[in-house]
């Protein structure tokens, strides 16, 4: 078994070294991140594995803070008439007493880099190329390890990428990777590892394995996420409740249904967050879709629907506002009887039983509550947007989840997907219905079909 590749993440203080680790590890809890300079003062490591095989060890190091003074000191360590190369000078510095006093933090960085196969030199792209950064690079290159510069905060807009490229080229560093730790580019991780593979030819197979595994996992995550959304939609589409035809009882039932749908959506949001390895409270307290921003709009508020661009028919607006269309089973006798006959002829005892119950309800003067089409559209759009946002979010992101303004064109001018229409007739598929049996193969099949449909929409 080959040894895992060791990488030290180095750079000036406060350029987001810990953030880079969080994003690469997909671990929101790694280390401590704050706006304050030199938050990390120790060396902390984590290991990336594929199928239990350790491939990459990443080490977070404290920032270099006083490179100008350090380089000055290192140069003074050279005795007159002596000419030391980089590694020799570095090791002499590490043996000196200042390496345990004034420059202890810098010494830690250099020791870690010496123990590593390569270093990722993280750069805040918003910063001008100052002399202290050049001195930092001079100190670091004294370790004799390959360095890969990584430009962070490139999405901030006013980056000085070209200036950095020129400056790095003058120092002999021609490979460069742009990787924003907060909004990582879609293929940023792949490009980072590929650039590393150019520097470390021997480690190419393990880096390639890492790239392949992460791509496969991203696809699997996406597929799972679509299934979670499909499950939510099927649960809501299949949900129906019998209610006595009295205004007070109806209002109570509708209110209850609202609550149930919102809780169900929240469950889906939480599952998505867990799937993408974000904190559960990332969404609950700070970036909860239902509470802040546009998401605080009530799910059943017609205004929200209008904003989302879902056209509402005059009569439908009322239904959307209440959140549930009241299906009165108009002319239910003939229609229901036919269905009953059909169901009986098909031999579906289950179907006959549920239809029978509904018919009985009709005779007893009960109404049937179900969830409106437009609510389903809205749920689908919201969850797909959340999914997209999660896919683009880095694990170092501290800000609230900002969702783009909704342009909901999802199924708005056509019928709902077949899977949803079908599940309307299967109350037993909904986990929202009381006494619904465990998941059935048919339900599972419809979820898979709907997830496939969602792949086309997103």
């Amino acid at each position: 078994m080959t040894k895992a590749l060791r990488l030290a993440v180095v750079g000036h203080t406060n350029v987001g070294k810990t953030s880079l680790l969080r994003t690469l590890l997909r671990d929101v809890d790694f280390g401590e991140v704050s706006h304050r300079a030199s938050t990390t003062r120790h060396v902390e490591g984590a290991r990336l594995s594929v199928d239990g095989v350790a491939l990459l060890e990443l080490y977070d190091t404290p920032g270099l803070e006083d490179a100008i003074a350090l380089l000055d000191y290192m140069e003074r360590l050279e005795r007159p008439g002596e000419r030391l190369d980089g590694p020799a000078r570095t090791s002499r510095f590490l043996e000196s007493s200042e390496a345990r006093q004034r420059f202890e933090q810098e010494a830690k960085v250099l020791r870690q880099l010496l123990h590593s196969d390569a270093g990722l030199y993280l750069i805040d792209a918003r910063e001008p190329v100052l002399a202290k950064y050049k001195d930092e690079l001079a100190v670091l290159s004294g370790c004799g390890k390959p360095l890969l510069p990584v430009l962070n905060f490139v999405s901030a807009g006013h980056e000085k990428e070209q200036a950095w490229r020129d400056a790095l080229a003058r120092l002999g560093l021609h490979a460069l990777v742009c990787f924003d730790t907060v909004v990582p580019p879609q293929d940023g991780e792949r490009r980072l590892y590929e650039s590393l593979a150019l520097l470390l030819e021997k480690s190419r197979p393990s880096l390639q394995r890492l790239i392949d595994d992460h791509a496969a996992q991203a696809e699997a995550r996406l597929q799972s996420a679509r299934q979670l959304i499909a499950e939510l939609l099927i649960d809501c589409a299949a949900c129906r409740q019998q209610v006595v035809a009295e205004p007070a009882a109806e209002r109570a039932a509708i209110e209850q249904l609202h609550q149930a749908v919102r809780q169900r959506e929240q469950r889906c949001v939480e599952s998505l967050l867990r799937l993408y390895a974000f904190r559960k409270d990332d969404a609950l307290t700070t970036s909860l879709p239902l509470l802040d921003g546009r998401w605080s709009d009530d799910l059943f508020n017609p205004e929200t629907l209008r904003q989302l661009g879902i056209k509402l028919g005059g009569g439908m607006a009322a239904g959307a506002a209440t959140g549930a269309g009241v299906d009165l089973l108009v002319g239910g006798l003939s229609l229901g009887a036919a269905t009953l006959l059909g169901a009986l002829a098909g031999g579906g005892v289950q179907t006959a039983r549920s239809y029978g119950k509904r018919l009985l309800g009709k005779f007893k003067g009960q109404h049937e509550l179900s969830i409106d089409d437009n609510i389903l559209r809205l749920l689908a759009v919201r969850q797909l947007q959340l999914l997209q946002a999660l896919g683009q979010r880095g694990h170092a992101a501290m800000h609230k989840l900002q969702l783009p303004a909704a342009e909901a064109s999802l199924w708005s001018d056509s019928k709902l997907p077949a899977a949803l229409r079908k599940s309307r007739a299967h109350p037993e598929w909904s986990a929202l219905n009381p006494r619904s049996p465990a998941s059935s193969p048919e339900r599972q099949a419809q979820i898979a079909a709907l997830a496939e449909k969602l792949r086309g929409e997103s």
Partner: protein
């Protein structure tokens, strides 16, 4: 513990997948399980994700009684199978009895054949049709659900029946299991009937006739010979036209003719009754075996993807390798300078987008923008020779207040009688990061240096605000 490991070792792969699916269904219903111990065990057991998920499900099922429920299911299923087999044996024997009768009256060959093969062929056709039309699962699924509702009285076992259904359906195994079951039972019944036929024909004397009112005898001769053609290839005897015609009148007393008829009847029964069922049973057994071997978890299911993080973590924390150092803090040693004169403005690490220096009042010198080591050294040398009375240091708060910059500020401050820091405002249209500005304030407070966000040029010129 030893007994439980024994029982888990006895589990077949199907049982492990079954338990896993049952646990998944329980969790999918939003029932959170206390799974830390199980996760730990699964992680320790190693293997790929599927193995770990199976291991986790096994420990959860063992703890919560699903394993025991599954054993009950298996016992129950075994018992039910035994009963069905017994029923098949009995009904097979009964079939043979009903076909041949008590031997007092001659046996009508078509009635006998019809009762031996009719129901069998009808059921075969029905099964075939239901598999070809539709998905072939509806009726079976409902039957199964009804059965499992009937059986699942306790909570632990409630998910087992649907879990098996889902599991089998995923590999399309359900239809093969159903085919194996039905064909196997029919095969058993037919074999029992065959044994009974042989027994009856060996110990009793039967005469064979055929009867018709409407049809002519020639069509019967053709039919009997057509049916017997295939068995005849395998060595069963075939009555000739004369014998058939003779049997149409009354049962022949000739023992040779009886033997020929009996052999014909057995041949047709074996070829058209037993053989198809045997082939189908063997084929579905093979398909079942193959499907069972290919049994795998659908790892794309969200429930399993959510477990991935727990069971097969991609990243693993290695801990703190080297602890945080104690760094000497920076404090300006505010010694008073005896001889100091003049006012000086100096900037630290400005970028080239800023207009620098600003218009300065008379008497204020500009020391430029400090960036490199040489510039710093040069200025410090100069200040030690000609210390200024008032020094204004301009900083861009977009830089981070790192130790190097603060040390430089402290050193500069030491070489002037009074020092102030000017935190430059942001360029028009931009805003400063409030957090970073607060960091600057904190750091400068620790250095005990006064700071302001506006230019104190007045102070610099005159010495008072």
């Amino acid at each position: 513990m030893s007994s439980s490991t024994k029982t888990t070792a006895l589990l077949r792969p199907l049982d492990r997948f079954w338990l896993c699916e049952a646990i998944r269904l329980r969790e999918a219903r939003g029932e959170p399980l206390e799974d830390r111990a199980a996760n730990r065990l699964a992680r320790a057991s190693g293997g790929d994700l599927q193995q770990r998920i199976l291991q986790r499900a096994l420990s959860l099922a063992e703890r919560d009684g699903q394993l025991a429920a599954l054993q009950h299911y298996r016992h129950g299923a075994g018992l039910a199978l035994l009963l069905l087999a017994l029923l098949a044996l009995l009904s097979g024997a009964g079939l043979a009895f009903a076909a041949l009768g008590d031997g007092v009256r001659p046996v009508n060959v078509f009635w006998a054949l019809g009762s031996l093969l009719g129901l069998n062929l009808l059921m075969l056709a029905l099964t075939g049709a239901s598999l070809l039309l539709g998905d072939g699962n509806g009726l079976l699924t409902r039957l199964w659900r009804w059965l499992s509702d009937l059986l699942a009285r306790d909570v632990q076992a409630a998910q087992l029946a649907p879990a098996l259904m889902l599991l089998l359906q995923r590999q399309r195994l359900n239809r093969w299991v159903f085919l194996l079951l039905s064909n196997g039972l029919w095969l058993l019944a037919l074999l029992s009937a065959l044994a009974m036929l042989l027994l009856l024909m060996s110990t009793r004397r039967y005469g064979f006739v055929w009867e018709t009112t409407l049809l002519g005898s020639n069509s019967f001769i053709g039919l009997i010979q057509a049916l017997g053609a295939l068995p005849a290839l395998l060595g069963f005897s075939q009555p000739d036209a004369q014998m058939i015609r003779a049997s149409g009148e009354l049962a022949l007393n000739d023992p040779a003719a009886r033997q020929v008829w009996a052999s014909w009847l057995l041949g047709v029964f074996i070829i058209f009754g037993v053989l198809p069922r045997l082939l189908l049973a063997v084929f579905s057994l093979w398909a079942c075996r193959r499907g069972l071997k290919r049994l795998a978890l659908d790892l794309s299911l969200p429930d399993y993807q959510l477990l991935r993080h727990e069971l097969l973590p991609d990243s693993e924390y290695l801990g703190i390798v080297s602890a945080a150092p104690e760094l000497p803090s920076l404090l300006p040693s505010g010694h008073s300078l005896e001889q100091s004169d003049g006012a000086l403005l100096v900037a630290i690490e400005l970028d080239d987008q800023r207009q620098w220096p600003p218009a300065l009042p008379k008497g204020v010198a500009d020391a430029g923008n400090l960036d490199t080591r040489e510039q710093r050294q040069h200025l410090l040398d100069q200040l030690s020779r000609f210390p200024p009375a008032r020094l204004l240091i301009a900083c861009d708060p977009r830089r981070s207040p790192d130790r190097g910059s603060l040390a430089l500020i402290a050193e500069l401050a030491r070489s002037a009688t009074a020092t102030r820091i000017w935190l430059l405002p942001a360029a028009p249209g931009e805003a400063l990061d409030a957090d970073r500005l607060a960091d600057w304030h904190l750091a400068l407070k620790q250095l005990q240096l006064p700071f302001a966000e506006s230019a104190c040029l007045n102070w610099l010129e005159t010495g008072h605000d």
